[in-house]
């Protein structure tokens, strides 16, 4: 567990309620190994901020804005961590400590810009990207691999498919977010694509390829 902080409370509440029902202060205190008194106090603060709904004797539940807040913080934490280790070349443990402090301070805009420096493609599932990247820049930030043209390169932003087996297959072949792809040959619109990823070449049919989202690079 990341040491006791607001989003830890929020996430623990979400986890214990599984998205429905309420969680008692005492249960939460046991789980977080923190005294019930300080848990009550924190819940009161969170409740004032509108992140949880709290009723005496019945317990607390997460609100939509609470979930969004927690999610965004987690993403920013991941981003800071990667920025500190990958760009600034810091030791992972030190990066973790520092990311923990910085995640609260950084704005959506700087998060979005940092993502660009790391080379992480903008992602329409990411709250910061959506709020800053898409609305401010108004660009279509990613394309399906199946819609790419021969000779195009890009970086995989995310995978999306209802069939878990397809995701597993794609992962095992190395179609993983952050990696570069190059369209070697595009037989036809609905035909299979021949794609380089890393030093390997694969044939994917267009249905499979449509589960891979790519940010197209500059040609």
């Amino acid at each position: 567990m990341i040491s006791g902080s607001r989003e830890d409370y929020l996430i623990e509440i979400l986890r214990m309620t599984k998205g429905e029902g309420k969680v008692k202060t005492n249960d939460l205190a046991n789980k977080l190994k923190i005294s019930p008194a300080s848990v009550s106090e924190m819940i009161k603060i969170l409740s004032d901020e509108g992140f949880v709904k709290y009723a005496k004797y019945r317990g607390a539940e997460l609100t939509a804005s609470g979930l969004e807040y927690a999610t965004k913080l987690r993403r920013k934490h991941d981003l800071m961590e990667r920025f500190l280790t990958d760009v600034l070349d810091m030791e992972p443990d030190a990066a973790h400590e520092e990311a923990h402090k910085m995640e609260h301070a950084i704005s959506d805009e700087s998060a979005y810009r940092m993502c660009r420096i790391i080379g992480a493609p903008a992602n329409d599932d990411c709250k910061s990207c959506v709020e800053y990247g898409i609305s401010k820049e108004g660009c279509n930030i990613n394309t399906k691999l199946s819609d790419m043209k021969q000779g195009q390169t890009g970086k995989i932003s995310h995978l999306k498919c209802d069939v878990p087996a397809t995701i597993k297959k794609l992962i095992s072949l190395g179609f993983v977010p952050g990696r570069e792809v190059y369209i070697y040959s595009n037989i036809s619109k609905s035909g299979p694509k021949v794609i380089n990823v890393g030093n390997a070449t694969f044939a994917l049919d267009s249905e499979t390829a449509s589960s891979v989202f790519v940010e197209i690079g500059d040609d």
Binding site: M1, T71, H77, D125, L159, I171, A200, F202, A203, D205
Partner: protein
Amino acid sequence: MQDGMFTAALIGQPNVGKSSLFSRLTGVGVISSNYAGTTVEIDEAVIVRKGDKVRIYDLPGTYSMSGNSDDENVVLKMVKNSDIDTVIVVADATNLQSSLVLCMEVIELGLPIILAINKVDEAYKKFNTDFKALENILGVSVIPVSARTSEGVDALADAVCDGLGKVSSFKVRYNDHLEAAISELTPLLGTTRFNSRGTAVKLLEGTKSFADDVDAHAVAITLELRNIYEITNDESSDVAIARDRYSFSDATVRKIQFKDNSAMTRKDKLSEILITPSTGMPILIGVMFGIFLAIIYVGSFLDQIVDGAYEFLVGNTLIDFGLNHGGELGETIMKGINGSILALFTLVIPYILVFYIILGVLEDSGYLPRAVVLLDRTMHRFGLHGGAFIPMMVGLGCNVPAIMATRSIQSRREKIIITALIVICVPCSAQLAIIFGIVGQYSGILYSFAILVVVLALMFVLGLTLNRFLKKEPSNLAMEIPDLELPTIKNILFKTWDRIKDFFFIAFPLIVVGSILLEIALKYNLLGFIIDPLSFLTVVMLGLPASLIIAFIAGVLRKEMALAMLIVIALSVGISDLTLFMTPDQFFIFGLVMAIYMPCLATVAVMWREIGWKETIVVSALSVGTAIAIGSIANLFLTIF
């Protein structure tokens, strides 16, 4: 340790050259080709080095340690259950990024490993690789090898025998949220063959086979952690884990491997020609025609040479021997044996030999996966994807390995469709020998091609029908395209011999014994009870001699048996020139029925194992029914016109 013997296993992603390396290490030949999924079973050999015996296993290729398909599960079970002292992870020097990811997984599970980096001869042409640096990063012995040139193979054998395989303390560091989830899960896991961190990561990836080994509480917590991760990180934990692994692997390769030249080579250009439909499709059609033309012309050329040699070397010796020692009966029996041996060595083996040499070249060159790309759209009409082309090509040789090759396919529906198409519509080499050797010779080459057209049409009809009536499942092409390579004569000859040796060691004795038994039975009219009741089928429906039912029945044992029995039957009625025994039309119908009907016993056995007994019975019954129906229609048609 297994039976007190030090044991090692080769693990690697598909097509990194595990089987070639295994052959080099152990001197035991196993089939290897230039496409993913050649090995679907476990091979085993013992090597002796400095007086110590070491057992080595060759396992099917696996992209990950997750057991995503039947053949990947074989690998997982093997390392999980048996006492493997060292895992030799085989990597591909020309594609280190993917290979290293698998290597990290094996390290993470706490298995003692040696990393063998194969294909270094190829890599030298393109890259400069610092193997020592990799050794330092991963904390395991790294040995560059080449199965092609034998470089480093001795060093690898020494390393295995000296027990250099070790458990590394190297860790992939995942993002903080994943690490937190891992630390929450680890204490809940008991000790198994795998260490708890590795198991925790596998659980968070959602790997089913690992969830089966831990208690219900750990499974429930895993599910919670996965859900929370997905909700709050907008990404599923398995994707996040893969992302961190690949980003580490890509970064590592950037540190240790430098590109020497990236110019487009002749190979790349050829590859592009083969894969672009406008040029690739005509080439593919040409290749398929070429195969059949080669079988016909080269096959019949070899047939004549062997025939002439047999005439010269053996001639009538066997028959005279029978006459001198056994009188009339002896002569008849010897005639039967003589005839069926001749059939095997002139009518069967030459044609099979030609096919397997061509198949070997196609396999080792890396051409087949390129044909797969071209055929993908057509195959989708049958609910398959282009990948089905490879088992079908293998099926033109023998149905048994073809059906086993379907193990690398995830969907059961596809397995059933492919198996049915292979069994019913793809003639195996013995059937091809009948089609080209017998029908081609006694009816004419056009009749041979007519049979091919009929089975091709049947394939369309059957494929479309099965696709319609079997419950829909997604079927997707996702296949690695290997680099083109120049096949080596040695490997082709070895594969061809390995594939046709059964004809010498199993078919040959069977045919001799079968001929003797059949001769005696026919001589004393012992088979009336089979021949007479079924004569409606043979004579009325198919328009063939009644006694041919024996050939059909023998064909269930092995397809070429039917051919041998045909000759024995003809001889038993005193005909040694087959043109007098049946008309060209009858040979055509015989060949047509043989091409479709009843899988041989070995095929039934492997079908039973791979797709289950119900489906096996249905497919077998369907093949018999279709063969009789099509044979009868052909007979009707030929009688009328």
